[in-house]
């Protein structure tokens, strides 16, 4: 059997990265709990070590609570997997699968280690790998970045199915909210992506990094698109301040209210995997990918040669590992920033989120796309010109914003049957409606 070098490298890289990401997800939960604890002046998890109750391993007790993630995972596995009687059992089981698959395949397109050339070799004489230049990513297809958008759209299905299958009002409302929010913020995601792809002129991740190596990071050239993209990925991952789908005070757990044990853990894992994927995507598109410094090329553009003597191979693997570490470090830093946002900014109200998407973020993103297209048509796509164009868009926004119709966010909204603010012309009886109570306290008006 003969397989191409790219197929071999892709499967190998994905098999490696999926484990790294899953492990990171487990420890990100620990990091988030620690961060929340320090922000709220607590200590956070600090008890569970790796001693497993054995006296011989007593020196591993404590360990800053690093055993917490392992304990959590085991506990999830040992809990009862329960589905409510009235839930749609098949869809109920399908939903976590539908949500974890897009979360796990999302980062396939990210070129973790740049390009490399590998020589021809065969594994045990059975599988023959033809040598050649490969991109060290889980998938090197010519759709490139469009893959990100398609996978991001798939994530909506799991949420919708979970909300519907539970047959629970909390889940249903949470699922509806999350679906509407995710599809709404997919548009600014796509539009801000379009604005930078117009500058890159390509969909291939490796060429995007090469462009940034030459012209500086895109976050300097397109700051508005970067901010909009970041807002959109926060909303896509259902992270605070956009986590109304699981607003505890209103909806208990949102679409995963009825879930327990490993199925619940899959929802949690999907959220964190989604955060890592979108952060890595942000690092790739705006922060220069695996290049550690802006405006300076550290690793150069050429492909690493994975062949020759043992020392050369080790050196090449070290370079690839460094590139992976830089890209992953950027992604994890962005995830930490998302966590900081979660524990700093209060949750937005649902109507504010939706109006924010449709009345401010989308028009602004459209404007950025049109202005960028004009700059490309004019032939001015260097960083300085694009910064000036962004400044012009910002100034335009500042001029137009006071002219927009104002809404008072805390105004009273008329409701049918409301005692405090009824619909115009509606007469609402105030007072007890139970017959027995009415006899004690006669009410003016009629029922």
């Amino acid at each position: 059997m003969t397989i191409s070098a790219q197929t071999f490298a892709s499967v190998l890289v994905f098999a490696l990265v999926v484990h790294v990401v899953l492990l990171t997800c487990a420890y990100l939960i620990y990091v988030e709990r620690k961060m929340a604890a320090y922000i709220q002046d607590r200590i956070g998890p600090n008890r569970v070590g790796f001693d497993f109750g054995l006296p011989i391993l007593g020196f591993l007790k404590g360990c800053l609570g690093l055993g917490q993630s392992l304990a959590d995972g085991l506990k999830f596995l040992l809990k009862e997997d329960y589905a409510p009687d009235r839930a749609d059992k098949r869809l109920f089981t399908l939903a976590p699968v539908a949500i974890i698959i897009p979360a796990l395949i999302g980062f396939a397109i990210i070129p973790w280690g740049g390009t490399a050339t590998i020589p021809s070799f065969s594994i045990l004489g059975l599988v023959h790998v033809t040598g050649g230049e490969v991109v060290l990513a889980g998938l090197n297809a010519n759709i490139g970045i469009v893959y990100l958008l398609s996978v991001a759209s798939l994530g909506v299905y799991g949420v919708t199915i979970a909300g519907y299958a539970s047959n629970n009002k909390y889940s249903f409302i949470g699922g509806m909210r999350a679906t509407a929010q995710m599809v709404s913020y997919e548009i600014p995601l796509g539009l801000s992506l379009l604005a930078i792809l117009l500058v890159y002129g390509t969909l291939m991740p490796e060429e995007i990094i090469a462009h940034q190596r030459q012209h500086g990071w895109m976050v300097f050239a397109q700051p508005i698109a970067a901010v909009l993209f970041f807002i959109a990925i926060l909303a896509e991952a259902n992270r605070a301040p956009f986590d109304v789908a699981e607003a505890e005070q209103e909806l208990v757990g949102g679409y995963h209210t009825e879930y327990s044990s490993m199925r619940f853990a899959l929802f949690f894992l999907a959220e964190y995997a989604h955060m890592i994927t979108s952060s890595a995507m942000f690092a790739l598109l705006f922060l220069g990918g695996w290049e550690p410094l802006p405006f300076v090329s550290v690793f150069g553009g050429g492909a690493v040669h994975l062949g020759g003597g043992v020392a050369e191979v080790l050196l090449a693997v070290a370079v690839v590992g460094l590139k992976l570490a830089v890209l992953f470090g950027k992604a994890v830093t962005l995830v930490a920033f998302m966590m900081l946002i979660r524990w700093t900014i209060p949750r937005l109200r649902y109507d504010q989120i939706m109006m924010g998407a449709w009345q401010s973020v989308i028009p602004l993103a459209l404007t950025v796309v049109v202005v960028t297209a004009a700059m490309v048509q004019w032939g001015r796509t260097d960083t300085l010109s694009l910064i000036l164009a962004n400044g012009a868009v910002f100034a335009l926004m500042m001029v137009v914003m006071p002219l927009m119709p104002k809404y008072d966010p805390n105004r009273k909204i008329p409701l049918y049957g409301s005692r405090f603010n009824p619909m115009p012309g509606e007469r609402v009886v105030t007072g007890p409606t139970v017959a027995l109570a009415r006899e004690d306290h006669p009410v003016r008006g009629s029922l």
Binding site: Q6, S10, E80, V97, V146, M262, V369, V370
Partner: protein, 131 residues
């Protein structure tokens, strides 16, 4: 230069492996917890959770039409964006002197303008008001 011209389906082979790996991961987790975890069903336990109250009715109810409107408007915008991606990948690579460049710039601007008309229509109809 981008390799958008050629279609190489074998480059999608790893994607199949990747999806299979993700699906296997999910399946192993769910089956594992089904096998290991306890099973103690009960009548009260099987009730729908409504903060401890007895459940009232089902959740299979009619919901606000606004979600439907949002889905419709989303379709308009999303399809538009999908059409714009091939343009974004090819148009900046045209030579400055190419006459197609100006033509495609104005065509896409007109295309965006039709979406803006749809947006303004929706705005005037109150689709984007959430109160």
């Amino acid at each position: 230069m981008s390799t958008l011209g050629e279609v190489n389906l074998s480059s999608y082979l790893p994607l199949m492996v990747v999806v299979l790996m993700a699906a296997t991961f999910a399946a192993i987790n769910i089956v594992g917890t089904l096998l290991i975890g306890p099973k103690r069903p009960g009548k009260t336990k099987g009730l729908t959770y409504e903060s401890g109250m007895n459940p009232v009715g089902t959740a299979r109810k009619r919901f606000n039409v606004r979600f439907y409107l949002i889905a419709m408007v989303f379709l308009v915008f999303d399809v538009e964006i999908v059409f714009l991606y091939p343009w974004a990948a090819t148009y900046p690579n045209l030579a400055m002197s190419d006459p197609d460049r100006v033509i495609w710039f104005w065509r896409i601007l007109f295309f965006l303008f039709t979406t803006v008309v749809a947006y303004v229509y929706g705005y005037r109809k109150g689709v984007f008001r959430f109160d």
